[in-house]
């Protein structure tokens, strides 16, 4: 069983910066854009790029993620000899195999990867919103005869000190990597997307875990090691829409950008569809008292109130007289009568009782956690 390029999604992180939204679920399974979960973008990119063999490494609160991915059929990733495999930490005769870092997680799954004997390993994180054809990056990797290609994104110079920055020569070869530099020399930020020549990475990992100099993390350990050993390491620049949704603020912003009909992500493009697990819910119902504008609504929604510049996920109920503004409501949220929700993210299955208020500010988004139940006035 030989696969040219195997995809590995690192979906095990806790996502602490999403606060109560990831208290009981992994970040990649957080709902996004009304009909999706964050990992749908990565999984759909893989399917659309014809990378049909994918390992999803999970660790933190994986239940919802596992249920979402199932056998991969929702993304067409259920080929008989390929498809999605969920890779969880396990106990073995050598001890527990919990993942200490991104590279360590790959090390722990060498047996899985070897079973497909891939020439290339595509390592991705499951928490970015973007559309990307990985085949183009692979073509670049081959053309450069690289041992490692890092996907990079040009960011504003003023922002560059928040990212891992790649300094390149004029052949795109990476000559220096700086994690969150105070005085950035370039604006090419790592997207956490890597193509490795598998055999080379495999040797480095095995050698390092045979000693004390263990390669735990791709950014902190592996890239510097590759550079130190003069391995051919290149930067592949991506110019499309790409958004890290690791914080409450960025998750809210990405949803608001998604809402714009001019969003460069172009979700309606039928040549690069984003797939998700879909369920058969009744069509949305807008009553005589509904006022819905500049909003995204989906099946199962019932709207009797006012919704402006907001995204409603599946099965959301909005009571009469309620006003929802500049907010993102996750699946199965129930909003009572005369509720005000403004600049907020409401977690799955949360209930805001009649007359309740959830009010945030553009730079301080209010959050209601999964399954939280708010009574009449929240602020009292």
């Amino acid at each position: 069983m030989a696969t040219e390029m195997l995809g590995m999604i690192l979906a095990g992180g806790q996502g602490t910066r999403l606060g109560k939204l990831t208290k009981n679920t992994a970040k990649p399974s957080v709902p996004f854009g009304g009909r999706y979960r964050i990992i749908d973008f990565t999984l759909s990119n893989l399917a659309n790029s014809e990378v049909n063999t994918v390992g999803v490494i999970t660790q933190y609160q994986p239940l919802e993620l596992n249920r979402h991915i199932q056998n991969g059929a929702s993304w067409g990733l259920n080929d008989k000899d390929a498809g999605v495999t969920i890779l969880q930490p396990y106990a073995s005769s050598e001890g527990e195999k919990f993942f200490e870092g991104t590279a360590h997680a790959i090390y722990q799954n060498i047996a899985y990867i070897d079973s497909y004997a891939p020439r290339y390993l595509l390592v991705l994180s499951g928490d970015h919103i973007y559309k990307m054809d990985y085949r183009r990056m692979l073509a670049f990797h081959k053309q450069k005869k690289a041992a490692l290609t890092v996907g990079v994104m040009p960011v504003a110079k003023s922002e560059a000190s928040r990212f891992g920055i790649m300094n390149t020569d004029d052949t795109d070869r990476i000559i220096q990597f700086e994690e969150k530099p105070k005085a950035p020399k370039s604006n090419l930020a790592s997207m956490g997307i890597y193509i490795f020549d598998w055999q080379i990475l495999r040797q480095y990992l095995i050698a390092s875990y045979a000693t004390d100099s263990q390669l735990e993390d791709f950014g902190k350990d592996v890239i510097p090691t590759y550079l130190a050993h003069n391995e051919a390491t290149f930067a592949y620049a991506f110019n499309g829409y790409w958004k890290d949704v690791g914080t409450i603020q960025s998750l809210w912003e990405a949803n608001m950008e998604f809402l714009s009909p001019h969003n460069p992500l172009n979700i309606g493009d039928r040549n690069w569809r984003i797939y998700s697990q879909v369920s058969a819910l009744p069509p949305m119902f807008l009553t005589a008292s509904a006022h819905v504008r500049r909003a995204m609504v989906v099946d199962g929604d019932y709207i009797a109130g006012t919704v402006t510049h907001s995204i409603l996920s599946q099965n959301v109920k909005i009571g009469e007289g309620a006003v929802i503004k500049d907010s993102m409501l996750m699946p199965n949220v129930v909003i009572g009568k005369n509720v005000v929700v403004d600049h907020a993210i409401i977690g799955e299955n949360a209930i805001v009782g009649d007359g309740g208020e959830v009010i945030g500010k553009p730079d301080d988004i209010a959050v209601v956690g999964y399954g939280e139940i708010l009574g009449r006035k929240e602020k009292e």
Binding site: P283, M296, V297, I311
Partner: protein, 385 residues
């Protein structure tokens, strides 16, 4: 018995003349309904909700829409290792004169029923929007004295049409015959009539015996006729259904049934009960309602893009309504588009219809305008109900 207790049979060949042109290229079973569904979703969901695993589908002349909707049957949990959906090809009525084709008709049923090997079989039509609990029908059947059970609903007489099938109920509450409403013998002053819901429940072996003996007869009799004869011979148990029902046998009924879903009580009763209605799911993007849109008292599917005004309408997925367009009291099926400045009232747009800009197209509640699949309309002239 690996395939459970009940086998289901659906024959998609149903009289559809009164639903043309909507049924020109599709059977009644795949008529779109309520912004999301096809009529066959209602019997299939009843089958799923009763955990029935073995279903025989007899395909209509144009089976494409059925196959496309059904796929593996996974949406109704029918992609099972044990059982599943079995489709049987269309046989033209005129070919039944040939004894070979005639015997194939019965043989398809007999082979399928023998293979399913369940104690009971339920036979359902696709032209009734309802949410039937087949397990309750089975429980009733087991308590009854007759070998066959019929399902009906008491419906206000003014809602029953002359060519609807009704039940003659005996004083014991059993069905003595299945007759057209115009031939019904009951007291003409009663407010209600027992409308037959095109559902029979019986022992599989009895059904096989019925089919075997029919296959040996010199003339062709359709299964529906055999079943009506069986009711005449044995009397049938009469199971009264009291839930939501909309029979779809004509354009006015089809239009009214869709509009009825805009009544919140009907929408909740039919679609949000403890027995969910399943359908094929599509990967569609959310519907975007633009800044100047105004939408009220309407159902909307996903993937839509709405800039104009919509009221009292049923809008399927992937519909575009442009600026200053008005859609009122209408059914707009998947992929249709109403261009800027146009008004559409009391109309049914089949899939993929394009209405050009600045047109006014109005039907009436009794006679909605109908636009056929993929029709392009660029002038109001010549458009008639």
């Amino acid at each position: 018995m690996k395939t459970g207790v009940v086998t289901a049979v659906i024959d998609l060949n149903e009289p559809d003349e009164a639903l043309r042109p909507l049924t020109e290229f599709r059977p009644i079973g795949t008529l779109p309904f309520a912004g999301r569904y096809r009529l066959i979703d209602f019997p299939l969901s009843a089958i799923d909700n009763a955990s029935i695993k073995s279903v025989g589908l007899f395909l209509p002349r144009s089976g494409r829409s059925v196959q496309d909707h059904l796929r593996s049957g996974a949406a109704w949990n029918l992609d099972a290792l044990q059982g599943g959906v079995f489709t049987f090809p269309y046989i033209a009525e005129k070919d039944y004169d040939s004894p070979i084709v005639r015997s194939r008709y019965y043989d398809d049923y007999i082979q399928f029923l023998r293979k399913s090997d369940t104690q009971y079989t339920v036979i359902m039509g696709t032209s009734n929007v309802a949410n039937i609990d087949i397990n309750a029908v089975m429980a009733y059947h087991r308590l009854g004295n007759s070998r066959i059970t019929t399902v009906y609903k008491q419906v206000n007489r003014n809602l029953v049409e002359a060519n609807d099938w009704t039940l003659e109920l005996s004083e014991l509450g059993t069905t003595s015959s299945v007759v057209l409403a115009k031939n019904h013998h009951g007291d003409p002053n009663t407010e209600k009539l027992p409308l037959f819901m095109d559902v029979y429940f019986l022992e599989t072996q009895d059904l096989i015996d019925m089919l075997v003996s029919a296959s040996e007869a010199p003339n062709f009799r359709h299964l529906s006729q055999l079943l009506r004869e069986a009711v005449l011979e044995n009397n049938a148990n009469a199971f009264e259904y009291t839930g939501y029902l909309s029979p779809i046998t004509s354009i006015p009924r089809y239009f009214a049934a869709n509009m009825a879903m805009l009544d919140e009580n009907n929408y909740q009763a039919l679609l949000f009960s403890s027995r969910p209605i399943q359908t094929k799911s599509k990967n569609e993007v959310p519907t975007f309602l633009a800044g100047d849109s105004r939408i009220e008292s309407s159902l909307l599917g996903t993937g839509g893009y709405i800039e104009g005004e919509i009221d009292h309408s049923v809008i399927f997925r992937n519909v575009v309504v442009h600026r200053d367009a008005v859609v009122s009291h209408s059914i707009i099926m998947q992929g249709s588009k109403v261009s800027a400045g146009s008004t559409v009232r009391y109309a049914i747009l089949d899939k993929g219809v394009v209405i050009g800009p600045n047109l006014t197209l109005e039907g009436t509640p009794e006679k909605p305008l109908i636009f056929s699949k993929n029709q392009r309309v660029f002038q109001a002239q010549g458009v008639r109900a």
